[in-house]
Amino acid sequence: MLSALTLLLIFQLLGEVIARGLALPVPGPVLGMLFLFAALLIKGGPDKELQGTSQTLLQHLSLLFVPAGTGIMVHLHRVADEWLPLLLSLLISTLATLVVTALVMKLCQRAPSTGGVSS
């Protein structure tokens, strides 16, 4: 648990240092994820401890968004002033993104296997 958590923090630190050092637009943790992924490919998979720790952490991923989400109370004024455009924009955009992404992927996946023959 402890050594796995340390490993995750080391990769985050590595990502953070490189992202800032090279002024990349990518945040440190995302870069850290890519590095760890590359390391796993080289090493041939995570050990039991890393597997267990990451599972624990990801099982309650939604908890980690609660503090930032509670920040809505600071913006209640703006949200109250512009609630209709905000709500509709988020609603329509989220729906459109889900539909477009899923549809495009479905079409792409089907295209090669049917070889242009529509079914």
Partner: protein, 243 residues
């Protein structure tokens, strides 16, 4: 007696202990409700926990900054949790590799749709320019989105809130959208939810299916990078408008 209680309150409200404890309590209560509902997406644990906390902080007159002094310990774990997404990604790598084309095309189409549709709808409905700019990166994970908002002249803390709401909307609605579209492949369902609603969608996807979760994590990571490149490039064009 009342004086003693108020003294205890004065102590508690100034220490990080309270913010941390109420966050964990609110989340566990919310998660209990979520499980009780049979993991119904409408009973989203983030939504319930945030509502309960806003109510609690408002009723007790606690400032968000005071609360966050304690809650930041939970917030901090977002970093290592993001890194940990590499593990499910590795486990599902075979499947990802067999779907490179749909993944690449889905990423590009989804990312553009998320950015453009949010800004255009807000503009048509008369939202202020700073609100429109704060909306542009709303589909990517909080730290990336805040960085983008800052760079293009949006309001980072407003963006953080919009990101969370987007995540909740996607996590709540995705199942119904996919069922209506007859999309059953857990890989596609996961990927689309990761593009539209980042980590909160990914959290939901993991609760449903490991493969969905891995694809959501992949989508979230790639969309974070792509959005960070796209939004600054097209923000000016989006705001001045094309018609």
């Amino acid at each position: 007696m009342t004086q003693e209680i108020s003294q205890i309150w004065v102590y508690l409200s100034a220490s990080p202990l309270l913010g941390l404890t109420v966050t964990l309590l609110a989340y566990q209560g919310a998660f209990w409700i979520y499980q009780r509902s049979g993991c119904n997406p409408l009973a989203n644990p983030v939504l319930i926990a945030v509502s309960a906390l806003v109510l609690f902080l408002t009723l007790t007159g606690t400032a968000y900054q005071t609360y966050f002094a304690g809650a930041q310990f939970v917030h901090f774990l977002l970093g290592p949790a993001t890194v940990a997404l590499a593990i499910p990604l590795y486990t599902q790598f075979k499947r990802v590799r067999s779907m490179l084309l749909p993944v690449a095309v889905g990423l590009l189409a989804g990312s553009l749709t998320a950015i453009v549709s949010a800004v255009v709808v807000a503009r048509l409905l008369g939202a202020s320019t700073s609100t429109q700019l704060s909306l542009a990166p709303k589909s990517v994970t909080t730290p990336i989105a805040m960085g983008i908002a800052e760079r293009i002249g949006g309001i980072p803390s407003l963006t953080a809130v919009l990101v969370i709401v987007t995540g909740i909307l996607g996590a709540v609605g995705a199942r119904y959208v996919f069922d209506a579209m007859k999309v059953r492949d857990p890989a596609i369902r996961g990927f689309a939810i990761g593009i539209a609603s980042h980590g909160i969608g990914t959290a939901r996807a993991f609760q449903v299916n490991e493969q969905s979760g891995a694809f959501a994590a992949l989508a979230m990571g790639m969309n974070g990078v792509l959005t960070a490149l796209l939004v600054p490039a097209i923000a000016g064009w989006l705001i001045t408008g094309i018609g």
